[in-house]
Subunit: 229 residues, 2 copies
DNA sequence: TTCACAATTTTGTTGCAACAAAAATGGGGC
DNA sequence: GCCCCATTTTTGTTGCAACAAAATTGTGAA
């Protein structure tokens, strides 16, 4: 009694709702830093940006606001959130719990091919850092992390983690120069790859948690310096 | 007629968008078991149920689908999800990580008044169980947990946890008779209240994790029995 | 000049109609 | 009787216009 959606199942991604496309596009723009913290978003402006009508644009904004990627700054204004110290801490603790869990599970399913893919991504990160293309390094860094998390086999967990990245993403673009100083997360990533290779769940979790904590410290310091300066 | 914007500033939650109201109402219905697993939802039906037009109804459905509380069962059908073993496990592990974190943080901020409120809730749970009003017991159980989680001071974490409850909620209503057998979570709740009283973060976390694990086992067993029978 | 207030513009929300696609129905052929 | 295909109905998506509320601008008086 199967409803035979088997053939369309694979193709149905091609037929995407405009609202979904807008949502996805907005997410990418936020993470890529196109919309910076404090940026005010209006329904009609977004609609024009994405070349759709107000309905899908509103859909996307609503969903993003619902998951905290955008916040209300007033009765009629949604903005990309500027994180204060408390919010940053909350997100970091949540990330540690969730990305730690995902990493640990990932170690159970990782294959040598996965490790190779990670190596390629790490190479891209290194090159981007070398050439000071920080936005690109950030993007590949995201891919590195999520390649691991997806190995957990927990799709919904991954999407929750994604929503957390959406919230810190914009803030990261504020501290480009910082990244060069200490190569961003390179050492942690290497340890992570080794752990994955050895199917060492605890080790992988520790490496990823370290990476998160390093990023947190850097971000916190940058914010403090900004508030003082 | 009278605008008086100054006064409305604090009350502005009273002026709620129809879409938000629909979203909130749908959430409560899902958790309360009005919409059971497998229940198919149509935009127009929901609109009629909630007595609004299609736009807010669609808003609510979209947001709920986005956070996994509803799922696509076909090209044009969203339903309340029926959890399989894998999904149940994923949610439980995620809950352990998140609700554990929230509990630990809650222990830092809990006051004697909070403990008293918990006692009142527990009394309500006990009475409801005694009189076999299981839906009500379930509802108070939810309040018990979230009263604790909110003490963490991490609002976004709480809302993520809420979205997880939204996903398991419907399944709980399938095993009412089970609840009577062993009083649902009573012992764990007592330990939790003690731990909170003593500001014992690790102890509170352990009690809540135990509660989650107990529920998981019960749910898993019920599903197995259903699949076999 | 500055402040208050009214008019205008911008903006979010909502309902609705038009369209497309999927499901349900029913009728005709085998 | 059963199955296939055309027709009808149901349903989701989308764009848009009307409305309300907030922000902005402009104007006039002190």
């Amino acid at each position: 009694m199967s409803d035979v959606p088997n053939e369309t199942a694979q193709v149905e991604r091609a037929m995407e709702r405009l609202g979904d496309a807008a949502y996805r596009e907005m997410k990418e723009r936020i993470i890529r830093g196109v919309y910076k913290p404090g940026h005010k978003l209006t329904v009609r402006a977004v609609a024009q940006d994405l070349d759709v009508s107000t309905t899908p644009a509103r859909d996307a904004i609503n969903r993003l606001t619902n998951e905290g990627a955008l916040v209300y700054a007033g009765p009629k204004t949604v903005v990309v959130p500027v994180l204060d110290a408390a919010a940053l801490r909350e997100i970091t603790l949540t990330r540690l719990a969730l990305e730690g869990l995902a990493s640990e599970q990932a170690a159970l399913h990782g294959t040598p091919e996965d490790v190779n893919k990670l190596r390629s991504l790490q190479a891209l990160i290194n090159v981007a850092l070398e050439e000071k293309r920080y936005a690109e390094a950030l993007w590949h860094n995201k891919e590195f992390h999520f390649l691991i998390y997806r190995l957990s086999g927990f799709p919904h967990l991954v999407s929750i983690i994604e929503s957390l990245w959406l919230r810190i993403g914009p803030s990261l673009h504020n501290l480009y120069p910082e990244f060069a100083r200490e190569k961003y997360g390179v050492r942690n990533h290497e340890v992570a790859m080794e752990a994955l290779e050895e199917r060492d769940g605890a080790g992988l979790r520790a490496a990823m948690e370290n990476d998160i904590r390093d990023g947190y410290r850097r971000l916190k310091r940058a914010n403090q310096e900004r508030d003082e300066g």
